[in-house]
Structure formats: C-alpha cells, structure tokens
C-alpha cells in the first residue's frame, strides 16, 4: 500500500513537471466498496451463526433451569384451613413432604417450616399470593425446579416425573461412541497405512472411491442398516435373549463403519504428507517396509492422525439417525451394550418428533441437552485443531 502511494506521488511529480494536470489521488469507487462490504457481511454471517447457536441454546437452557414445575403430590389436606391457620393436618397418602419444600394449595404458595408426622407448619401467602381458606381434600402440589446439581449428578432422565439427570443420556452417548471408536480407529488407521504405504496405484484408484461412497451414504440409511442387518447379526451371534432388538452395540458398530472413511482419509492425508526422504532414509538403514511405516512414517504424521481421531470421536458423539433408529427409545442408565438406551441426540430427535409445544419443559430440555452436546463436540474440535497446530512437524 505504502509502495503504491510512493509510486503514485512519484509519477504525479512527473506529470506536474510536464505541465499536464492529471488527477492521481486514489479514486474511491462506490461500487467496489459496496461489493467488498457485501462480501465481508457474507463472511461475518458465520460469526452470527455461532452467536445465534450459543445465544439460543443458552437462553432456552436458562429457562430450563429456572423453570418451576408444579407436581401433584396426591396428598390431600385432611381438615379445612382457615385464612389464619399456619399449621394444618395432611393425609398420609401420596408423596412425602419435606421441610423446606415450596408447596401450593389452590393458588396460594406456602413454604414448609416444620413437619411433625402429618402436621405441617407453613409460612403462608408467599410471593404475594392471596391468603385464603382452603377446603379439606384439596391436593397439595410440590414445586420442583431443575438444578444444575441434579442435572449433572443424577442419572435418571424422566421429565414426566420430574427427574432430570443427564447422565443416563450422556452414558448412552459415550457407550455408542466408544463402540464406534473401538471399531473405527484401528480399522481406519490400518486402512490408511495400507493405502498410503503399501497399495499400488491401481489398488488405490479402486479403494479410495469405495471409501468415498461409504462416506457419502446418508446416515439414515446406516440407521436402517443397523436395525435390519447389524442387530439381527448380533442376535444370531450372542443369542436372542442376550441382545435386545434396540441396543447400543449395534448402533455403535454401525457408527464405527460410518466414521471409518473419515478416519482413514484424514489419516492417509497425514501419512502422505510425510516426505519421501524420510522413508528412503529408513530403507537405506535397512528397515523393512513395516518398520518404516510403523516407526518412521506413523510417528512423523502422529499429529494429523490424532486430529483425525478426535474429529471422528466428535462426529460419533454428534451422530443422530443411527442411534435414533437402532439404539432404542427411552433413557436407561446401563453399561450393558446389548441393552437399549437412549443417547442425547436420540432423545432430542424422539421428543421433537411429535408436535412439540413451545415453552413446554420438553422444548426447553432439548436446548439444555443441545448445549451440552455443542460444548462437547466444540471442545473436541478445538482440541484437534490445537494438536495439529502445536505438534505438526513441518517439512520443507
């Protein structure tokens, strides 16, 4: 830029010297500026998308955690309460109350101060609700609120009865992803080594398109494959009473097949980027082909391989249709891969499949789960980029 101006001023002096008036100041071209601004906006849109994701997921998640749910305790009050009673009797049926619970009778909010068997002492008319008499037989409703603590420390997920422990969903996600990784990482790396170090040009030209086709098959077709091929196969091998119709193992194995092309092609790129001279040096020292591959080429490409692994893991965690079809409907906390369990993504698909009404707890909960999923995959992706940048061996 600076050079540009220098040239212009130099030629400007020449022009002046010749006595001709030439306007040589930088022209502003409104068209060019408009185009550049538009293109910048196009690029900037991606930032908007990210902000939008974080904002929407965050906003609805906050609603999810801030939400007070009223749950019918099925416990009626046994005698009528007048406007100034602070202690009353409740029936023995229904849920157990606890000191410190927020309860609601009709529209009046109360806070339980003390509890002696069936006699309840309360602070009445909370949050400005009118203090009124209540008839005997009115049911008590208990307030529940999803807390972060409950969300992250308990393992039962059942919004209908007020249970919000994310771990049954996360556990199922980890089970399917782990199965997928066990299948895909060794196979993918071995395929990559074969393609990059052993395969003839002819073999590569056949094998690579096949892997590309495998990568291009839509995930819903993989889901169909898991349910109608992999599950029957597992049931044939391990027995029908051991393997459920819906199970995490079948979904996991198929996700493994699905991410295999990703692992192999990214790893192969990393292996091919290792310069020939390294291989030739190893051969020159008397190494066999295998020793060259495993002790020279793979270590030299390790950052790329690890990055491929991490991207594949992130893909496996976010994979949706295979688990929605084959892993089962209904959250379950189990470590048995042959039992059905619902993953985070599977749960989101199932509850949003019907007509989901806005502002319902289910609606808010998919955002909370989505946020968790977003951060899990995002951190893995960032981690993988870091690894590539940090540990990459640069050859000229």
């Amino acid at each position: 830029m600076a050079l540009h101006q220098v040239e212009e001023s130099a030629s400007g002096e020449n022009a002046v010297a010749k006595g001709r008036k030439v306007k040589l100041s930088r022209k502003t071209r409104p068209g060019e500026v408009a185009i550049q601004s538009f293109l910048f906006l196009c690029g900037f849109l991606s930032i908007f998308i990210t902000v939008g994701i974080v904002y929407e997921l965050g906003k609805e998640s906050l609603l999810f955690f801030g939400r007070r749910q009223w749950e019918n305790s099925n416990k009626p009050i046994s005698q009528p309460i007048s406007a100034d009673d602070t202690t009353f009797e409740v029936s023995t049926s229904g849920f157990t109350l606890e000191e410190g619970d927020l309860i609601r009778i009709d529209d009046e909010l109360m806070f339980i101060l003390r509890l002696v068997e069936t006699s309840v002492t309360v602070e009445r008319g909370l949050e400005g609700t009118p203090i009124v008499p209540h008839l005997a037989g009115k049911n008590i409703e208990i307030a529940t609120q999803v807390t972060l603590q409950e969300f992250f420390t308990t393992s039962g997920w059942n919004p209908q009865i007020g249970k919000f422990g994310i771990w049954s969903l996360v556990n199922a996600t980890l089970m399917t992803s782990l199965t997928a990784i066990v299948v895909a990482l060794p196979l993918g790396l071995a395929t990559a080594i074969y393609l990059s170090e052993y395969a003839s040009l002819r073999a590569r030209s056949i094998l690579k398109p096949i892997l590309e086709v495998l990568a291009g098959v839509p995930t819903v077709v993989y889901g169909y494959f898991a349910l109608t091929f992999m599950t029957p196969l597992l049931r044939l091998i391990f027995g029908r009473d051991v393997v459920d119709i819906y199970n995490t193992a079948s979904a996991g194995i198929v996700i493994g097949i699905l991410i295999l092309p990703l692992v192999s092609s990214m790893s192969e790129d990393a292996l091919s980027a290792v310069p020939r001279s390294l291989r030739e040096a190893a051969y020159g020292l008397g190494a066999t082909r295998l020793e060259t591959a495993l002790r020279v080429v793979v270590p030299a490409a390790i950052s790329g391989i690890v990055a491929a692994f991490i991207v594949a893991i992130s893909r496996a965690i976010g994979e949706t249709m295979v688990v929605a079809i084959a892993a089962g409907a209904g959250p379950a906390f189990t470590f048995n891969p042959f039992k059905s369990a619902e993953t985070m993504t599977g749960h989101i698909v199932r509850i949003s499949g019907g007509d989901l009404s806005y502002n319902s707890l289910d609606y808010n909960s998919i955002f909370a789960i989505g946020l968790m999923l977003f951060f899990m995959t995002l951190s893995l992706n960032i981690f993988s980029q870091r690894i590539v940048r940090r540990f990459r061996e640069v050859y000229e």
Binding site: E32, P218, S264, G318, S352
Partner: protein, 411 residues
C-alpha cells in the same frame, strides 16, 4: 567380527515374517470397510425384491362386467363401479378433486384398486429367501392363503416414484418426498451458494491477516464440525419459532393458504443452508486458492480493479472447483435427516408441496418414518426409498467427479 552380521541375517526372516503378518492385517482392515459397504448394499437390495402374498378384499373377477375383465372396461363403467363400492364421503372427495368424468380410464382403475380391491400384504419374503426357498414359499402361500396370490414384487419401481405417500403399503410412494427434498435443497442452495461463495471470496481475496478475519476463519472451521442436530435446534428456535410470520408465509398471503406454523419448506431450506454454508465456504476457498497468482497480477497490470479481476479472471478459473464443492455439499444436505426431524418435518403428507410455505416431508424423513414403524412390511418401503435416495446421490456425485476430471487440470 562376523557375529553382528550373522545376528542381523538370522533376524531378517523373522522381521520379514512379521512384515507379512502386519500387511495381511492392514489388508484385512481395508477389506472390512469394503465388506461393510457391500453388506449395506446387499441388505437394501435384499429387502427391495422378494415374494409377497397378497389377499384382495374384493376379488376383481366379481367386479367384471359381462366377462370383460376390470382393467379393460371403459371409464364410465369403471366410474359407476367405483361409486357403487365406496362410501359417499370418499366418492365426493375424489369427485371434487378431479371429477370422475374427467379422469382417464387408468386413473379410475387405480382408484378402484386402491379403495375397492385393496390388495393386502399377508406375508413377504426377502430376495435371499425367495431365491433359496422358492418351493417352500409357494407351498406356504398355497396352504395358508388359498384365496391369495403369490407375486414376485419389486418394491422400487416407477409407480413407487410417481405415487404419493399412503398408509397402504401396496400403493405408497415417494413422490411427495422427492419433491419435498428438491424444494428444500433448492432453497438451501439459493441462499447458501451466493453467501458461501461471497464469504470465500472475501476470505481469500480481500481479508487482511487481522484478528477479526482469523476469528472468522477459525469459526468457519468450527461450524463445519458442529453436529447437524444442533443446526436443527437453531432452525427450530429461529426460523420456525422467532420468524414464524415470515416462514409460515402469513405476512405475504394474509393466511389464505398459510399453514399458520413455521414448520415449512422455507424453514427447512434455510436450516439446511446454514448447515452446508461452512462446507461451501471451505470448498470454494480451496478452489479460489488454486487460481494462480499470475492471472491476478496480469489483470491488475492492465488496470483492472480488484472486483473486475475477481469477476472476470479469478471466479471463472475457480468455478469448476466451486461447483464441485457445492454439489458435494448438496449431496450432504439431501441425506440430512436429524435437523429436519427437529424443525418438524411432517410425517404424513399426500399433497405435493405447492410452494415454500407448504408443509413438507423429504426422502430421508420418509426412510426414517418407515424404518421406525413396527410393521415389518414398511421396512421394504424404507429399503426402496433408500435405493432411490442412493441413486439420486450417486448421480450427483458422479456429476461432481465428472466436473472435477473435466475442468480440474486446466489451470
């Protein structure tokens, strides 16, 4: 002196043996990937063809007039047969859609087939079973369903592609789903292509190396790794809910044909646009990067402005690459299911989509629906729809590869 050399020599066969063993392992691993693909394809083909036992609700022979079989009767006779055998409500509905007198003979025949004869699948066998246990299947069909008939059915055929969805397995098709897929993809490309290419031009040709542009670059890479279902949630919150007046078409039509819900083709298309945007940007960047700098310099040297250079020299050179990348992004979008389920694709639609504000269903959604039905027979439909989807994708990818091979090496 010869000792180490001897040791080396004696070691060598063992090293070669282990080399061979590992090579076998690598080959086996590669083979497993291929086996996976083969199993997938065979599995789909296996459910696509096979013997089926049908039992008719009404025997077509009883409907024949004067010994003329049903399919050869003239349309007015067929129309009266249709009228006599279905409820008034159903008749009026179809008569109002297109009057029966205006319908062709074959379309009335189809109506009779669908609503009067109603062939029902009683039992079905996969291709493998049909080939290996033919005699057994024929005897089962003859003894268990004496009034039924055995047909070797191909689930995917022209009828399957051209007929709309139906709750009867026998006549269900994927026309609405294919049209829905094309509509959503069309809208997605309409938005994602210009914006994506624009962003790529900005990043490659204009952006200086400052923190803002670095953030944009990193951000695009991260967006490409976000699971598709997250885009679905975003689409649900923004397009379906927040922009409902726009995406339902209410502000354009005053709710004449508006569905009064944001769960429309437009929302789906925009959601897919966000999903493929990072892919298009990254691919287009690569294509633009591959245009040699000498072209740019020559253009500048002749006094062209930056935009003139880009428009007349950089973009034409990068276009094949950009198109290839875009086709690959489209084929990714065509197969996407999860985000569309989340933003609320309709599960049962018989009418063709009429515009961006109609409700929609797409091919992958259909496959998902049919797969998750408890009745086994719907799996055949899922397999048939998968075959259609794969054929569509294969065509697109072949186009992309052709483009790449044809124009790829020109620069």
């Amino acid at each position: 002196m010869s000792h180490p050399a001897n040791g080396f020599q004696s070691n060598l066969p063992r090293r070669h043996r282990s080399g061979q063993a590992w090579l076998l392992l690598f080959q086996a691993a590669t083979l497993i990937g291929i086996l996976g693909l083969t199993a997938l394809m065979l599995n789909i083909l296996n459910s696509n063809f096979g013997y089926v036992v049908y039992v008719d609700k009404v025997n077509p022979q009883t409907l024949a007039v004067d010994g003329v079989p049903l399919e050869n009767l003239p349309s007015d006779t067929l129309a009266s047969i249709f009228r006599e055998n279905v409820s008034n409500g159903l008749f009026t509905r179809y008569d109002r859609e297109i009057p029966l007198t205006d319908r062709s003979q074959s379309s009335i025949y189809e109506l009779i087939l669908d609503f009067v004869i109603v062939p029902e699948v009683k039992q079905q066998w996969s291709l493998w079973e049909s080939l290996t246990r033919r005699a057994q299947i024929q005897s089962i069909a003859a003894t268990d369903y004496p009034e039924g008939y055995l047909v070797f059915e191909s689930w995917v055929d022209y009828d399957f592609i051209k007929s709309p969805q139906s709750s009867f397995v026998e006549i269900a098709g994927v026309r609405t789903a294919i049209l829905g897929s094309l509509w959503t993809i069309g809208i997605a490309i309409l938005f994602a292509f210009p914006v994506g290419v624009g962003a790529a031009i900005y990043l490659q040709e204009y952006a200086a190396d400052n923190w803002l542009n670095r953030v944009i670059r990193t951000n695009i890479n991260n967006l490409a790794g976000v699971p598709s279902i997250i885009y679905g949630i975003l689409g649900l919150a923004i397009f379906v809910r927040a922009l409902e007046p726009l995406t339902s078409g209410a502000i354009f039509s005053g709710s004449a044909e508006a569905t009064a819900s944001g769960r429309t083709i437009l929302s789906a298309g925009l959601t897919l646009a966000l999903l493929v945007l990072p892919l298009i940007i990254i691919n287009a960047q690569e294509a633009i990067k591959a245009v040699p700098n000498s072209l740019r310099n020559a253009s500048y040297g002749l006094g062209a402005t930056r935009w003139q250079t880009i428009w007349n020299h950089v973009l034409p050179g990068a276009l094949p690459g950009i198109l290839t990348g875009t086709i690959l992004a489209i084929s990714r979008a065509i197969g996407e299911t999860a985000p569309l389920v989340v933003i609320g694709a309709s599960t049962f639609i018989q009418a063709d989509p009429s515009g961006p504000f109609s409700k929609f269903t797409t091919l992958p959604i259909q496959i998902f629906q049919w797969t998750s039905r408890p009745q086994e027979v719907f799996r055949n439909l899922a397999a048939a729809a998968s075959l259609v989807l794969l054929a569509l994708l294969l065509t697109m990818n072949a186009t992309a590869i052709l483009l790449r091979n044809r124009y790829g090496n020109r620069n």
